[in-house]
């Protein structure tokens, strides 16, 4: 499977060499220059291929996987996440729903499919990353509309809000430390205000995203894990209650916004 493209690697090298001073402006120009040419297109293709590839002891594809709109329905499914699923009696994000389908429909080993959900620098992308990228593209242009009908979904939002403001670790950092004010930046990096609709819609609607500096597509699950690394916390686990709660908090604040993922980021 092809995953790297020399042209984009060269672009990445060029962007990384741009002086910090003009970084935001230059990056916007670079994004304009790229237009619709997001290297994530290769990952989208790969994700689609994986969806239709028989895997596991039953040699099954993921076509029977119900992402909330019925088995096999992928268009518009991502913008409804996180959501409650009666078959697991749980609120799930897309990543944990995919894991559920891999273990039940394909009969694959839970530990094997969750061992390494996110690629490391210099790696090829993972299966989860590719599938999430394709499924996000299947919702591109759709309105963000996470389910909040079930009591468990509303409770997950409240839990997410509590965790968002939870200060801990040697630096006393919470998500709110960086993400509860508008128009702020850390060093030169602009910070979205995730407590506001505008900031949440911009952030939630642009992940997964191709990170040029890393040459990889990153999912929101990875974004959260890396935020907590910088918060000096232990490592956030994919599909964990805290991860799904925070994603619910962001998605609901973003409701009404437009899904533009897969995005293109520095």
């Amino acid at each position: 499977m092809k995953r790297h493209h020399l042209g984009f690697t060269l672009f990445a090298a060029w962007v990384c060499s741009v002086p910090l001073a003009a970084e935001d402006g230059v990056f916007d120009q670079y994004r304009d220059l790229m237009g619709d040419d997001n290297p994530a297109v290769f990952v989208i293709d790969e994700g689609e291929e994986l969806w239709f590839t028989p895997q596991g002891p039953g040699s099954a594809t993921l076509e029977a996987c119900d992402l909330g709109l019925g088995p096999g329905v992928t268009a518009g499914a991502y913008v409804r996440f996180p959501r409650y699923f009666a078959d697991t009696d749980a609120v799930m994000d897309l990543e944990s729903r995919l894991v559920h389908c891999m273990t039940t429909i394909q009969g694959r080993d839970l530990e094997a499919v969750t061992a390494k959900p996110y690629s490391l620098r210099g790696d090829f992308g993972t299966e989860i990353e590719a599938l999430v990228t394709w499924l996000a593209a299947e919702s591109e242009g759709a309105t963000i509309a996470p389910e909040q009908n079930h009591a468990a979904e509303r409770a997950m939002y409240t839990l997410g809000e509590e965790i968002f403001f939870y200060r801990a670790g040697p630096h006393d950092f919470s998500c709110a430390t960086c993400h509860e004010q508008s128009g702020m930046r850390i060093r030169l990096q602009a910070l979205p205000d995730l407590t506001s609709h505008t900031g949440a819609a911009e952030a939630w609607g642009s992940w997964p995203a191709y990170r040029i500096s890393q040459g990889l597509v990153r999912t929101m699950g990875w974004r959260l894990r890396d935020c907590f690394r910088q918060q000096r916390w232990p490592e956030l686990q994919m599909g964990s209650e805290a991860s799904i709660a925070l994603q619910t908090y962001m998605a609901v604040n973003a409701a009404g916004g437009t899904m533009t993922a897969p995005g293109l980021k520095r």
């Binding site: 403001f165 040697p170 910088q230 916390w233 209650e241």
Partner: protein, 202 residues
């Protein structure tokens, strides 16, 4: 506070995780959601009195008497430099101010921690890569080096909550992020007239 409690089976662990909105059970959710990695151990998820008081979502009414006593308690625990000397070497202070590493699971624990001042503050006017979460400190040395000023600045670095409870700033001294010598060096970076912080932009 406990609005709703019900058990949900999480597909990933196949265990029944009871989720609830009670603040005292959020720690349990976090314990099940994170794993220790290198120096980032699980005890970091437990909150002390400051962290607990300052975790209330925006707009939550807080008990002013509790906040006042907590602030007084923080002020009382500030440790001033043992030798009475507040100012170190501004050049070493510049390194501390620019270094964003330290105490992350990905950091080498044998290396000194940074203060990462530039993540949030403008300092030397020639450094353009500064954040805006905190106020600009450019020209800070103009405030002078009176004993009161030295003690104020030291206290702000040691434990910001002694003056401004629930400030976003880390407690560099009280939490052991920076050493006494590193704090002195940062003090000099802020206050020494020769420091770039106190020089006009080129």
């Amino acid at each position: 506070m406990k609005v709703l409690t019900m058990g949900i089976a999480t597909a990933l662990t196949a265990s029944v995780a009871a989720w609830t909105l009670a603040a005292d059970e959020i720690e349990a959710v976090l314990q099940n959601s994170f794993v220790a990695k290198n120096q980032a151990t699980m005890d970091r998820l437990e909150r002390d009195a400051v962290q607990t008081a300052c975790s209330a979502p925006r707009g939550t009414p807080l008990d002013n008497d509790m906040l006042a006593s907590l602030r007084a308690e923080r002020l009382a625990t500030v440790v001033l430099p043992a030798d009475g000397q507040y100012l170190g070497d501004w050049q070493r202070g510049a390194e501390v101010a620019g270094n964003g590493r330290g105490l992350q699971s990905s950091d080498d624990p044998t290396q000194p921690n940074g203060g990462n001042c530039y993540a949030c503050h403008q300092l030397a006017p020639n450094e353009v890569a500064y954040g805006t979460l905190g106020p600009s400190l450019t020209g800070y040395g103009a405030r002078g080096q009176s004993e009161a000023m030295l003690q104020y600045t030291w206290t702000k670095l040691w434990d910001t909550h002694a003056y401004n409870l629930c400030s976003h700033m880390p407690r560099f001294g009280a939490q052991g992020i920076l050493t006494e010598q590193q704090l002195k060096d940062v003090m000099a970076y802020l206050l020494d007239p020769a420091s770039p912080v106190n020089q006009a932009a080129e």
